[in-house]
Symmetry: C2
Subunit: 355 residues, 2 copies
């Protein structure tokens, strides 16, 4: 438990790296934007109206089976640190962290269905899965949408579809995304070409914490750019097809990294990264992510290493600034945080069972 | 044994880091240049004359107790690789390696008295000790000079003293030098100031393989610049006084590295270096020396590390290009050598006894 937010032990959580293609696709996410009929969008609503929408959404959710044993956060009731931890878990947005009043987050017991209330739209509900499972994620979030739609009335227009605050979400309200880990393309140098090609295919590439952030640890969020004018199935099929192509590029690059004299260079980078994670006394988050990326690559390439993907995912979460701050239990300067982070990482790695 | 050249197990050898101040002074070396009377200097001698001087020196040495169980190398009888190994052990010069004909090397059984024949001068005899022991090294090489002087007649002029090929050696023929390890001054940034001051004090700073070479692993060879016009004792006292001052600067810098918040940064660098030596799959010699320097610093600062100074000295020798080539037993490209070196280092470190 970190700040009341659990690591979800259910093996279906993305954290456990149990899904198909999980050596490239860290997680699949399908989210729907929905707004309540006859209530202004959050950006235009008066405080009382926001309170009303938060309460009606939470009360509807409590009748949906998936959230029966879930958690309900009213963000303003939590410290800034807890909200930052929720950002680091990709559960709320920076915007919700800053303007927490009447913003909410609901999560099912397994942590697979984070649902934001009063972000840009009244509701942003998502299904998150380990590996490449876009269709399954879609079916689940579609089911959730249907269940909630029986309790709440959506803002909907016969020609434009579901109405949203931003026109890029209008129509289906669908955003299909995946977090892809592309260490071999990064190392081999083919990454920029692959990523640049995505724009022409109607896909958007984002950094580690979403729109406007940098990539960390060679992890990239890829998603559809628009939602209007095509069916949900068409959007999902298209994104999935492109992701399968990226996976193929990455797998080719990995094979290249292990061919001939490249192999020992690759092994060198992986083992050096593992050793630094085990030994360093101070480390910033960016370096942590780069080293984790190398070790992750080593695991994909079947190198014998004292680590596992779930363990690396745990470090990826725990080593983030707010998580480190929370674990320390007191305010830390950035320099102190780097020291505490290194200690946390060494301790977590030692928890890996020795053969 | 590497190419017939042993690692000297006698604890008095510099390799064992047993001498005084050996946390800064890796080795002390006092050498005398001597030439035979009535035989042209090697640069001017005809081939037959060089053969003659080599034979008369070797035959005189065999009657000196220190060389009774010693080794006598006629360099032209050895492969280029063996000669390169001798350079890497600081036992012969690059010049002797290139023009091996009639060049010789004699070594006592403990490896403390390397004696070059037909380098620039007919004889360059040295005493090498662990730590700062210039006076003791001087007494020993002086004794050797006396013993040899009873068998051979030196080129000597009443006003100029001992005659040598190069005027900078003329007079006493004495070169007093020490290999200093200055990691803290290097890290803290005070190194250039200290080294630049030495020239004004009549001292010369050289790189890892002597004149005209670069420093490696923050190890610097410091020696007197001239030998004429002062007694041996004056030269030795002067060099020793300056070295004691450098030691003090280095010790101050080390204390600084462990004070306040610097300590964890220093520990970080040391533990990272140790980890990389234990884990890397390819490594060039320059990086090896930099990492060894950090680990050595950690040992000086009493950090708990799976290494010892003799073990690090062993790696410092073994990891050199010719040594690596010799250990591999076949020709290696530079890239292959880096891989073989990393393997050698990992294996040697594993030989350190676990607690």
């Amino acid at each position: 438990m970190t700040g009341g937010i659990p690591f979800h032990d259910n093996p279906r959580n993305w954290f456990h790296a149990s899904g198909p293609e999980s050596s490239v696709v860290i997680s699949s996410r399908v989210r729907l934007a929905r707004n309540l009929q006859n209530v202004p969008f959050p950006g235009q609503a008066k405080p009382g109206e926001l309170t009303q929408s938060l309460e009606s959404v939470f009360s509807a959710l409590q009748q949906v089976p998936a959230y029966k044993e879930g958690q309900f956060f009213r963000l303003s009731a939590h410290t800034r640190l807890t909200r930052e931890i929720l950002i680091e878990r990709h559960l709320i947005s920076q915007n919700q962290c800053e303007n927490a009043h009447d913003c909410g987050l609901a999560m099912d017991a397994d942590g697979n269905f984070p649902l934001m209330v009063n972000e840009e739209d009244h509701i942003r509900m998502a299904s998150v899965k380990s590996g490449l499972l876009l269709e399954e994620a879609w079916r689940e979030v579609d089911g959730l949408d249907t269940a909630l739609g029986q309790k709440l009335t959506w803002a909907y227009h016969p020609s434009w579809g579901f109405l949203t605050a931003c026109p890029t979400n209008c129509g289906t309200g669908l955003r299909v995304s995946a977090r892809l880990h592309l260490p071999a393309l990064s190392l081999a140098g083919g990454l920029q070409r692959v990523l640049q090609g995505l724009n022409r295919l109607g896909l958007v590439v984002r950094g580690y914490y979403g729109e406007g952030t940098r990539a960390l640890g060679e992890i990239f969020q890829v998603s559809n750019a628009t939602t209007l004018g095509r069916s949900e199935k068409e959007i999902i099929d298209h994104v999935q097809k492109i992701i399968r192509r990226i996976i193929q590029h990455e797998m080719d690059a990995r094979q290249q990294l292990m061919s001939g004299t490249n192999a020992v260079r690759t092994e060198d980078q992986v083992h050096r990264a593992m050793a630094l994670l085990q030994a360093a006394r101070c480390m910033n988050y960016e370096e942590t992510m780069t080293l984790l990326s190398r070790v992750r690559l080593g695991l994909y390439l079947d190198m014998k290493l004292p680590a596992s993907l779930p363990l690396l995912n745990e470090i990826m979460l725990l080593a983030q600034p707010a998580h480190v701050q929370q674990a320390a239990g007191k305010d830390l300067s950035p320099a102190e945080r780097d020291v505490f982070r290194a200690t946390l990482i060494r301790k977590t790695l030692r928890s890996h069972p020795k053969k």
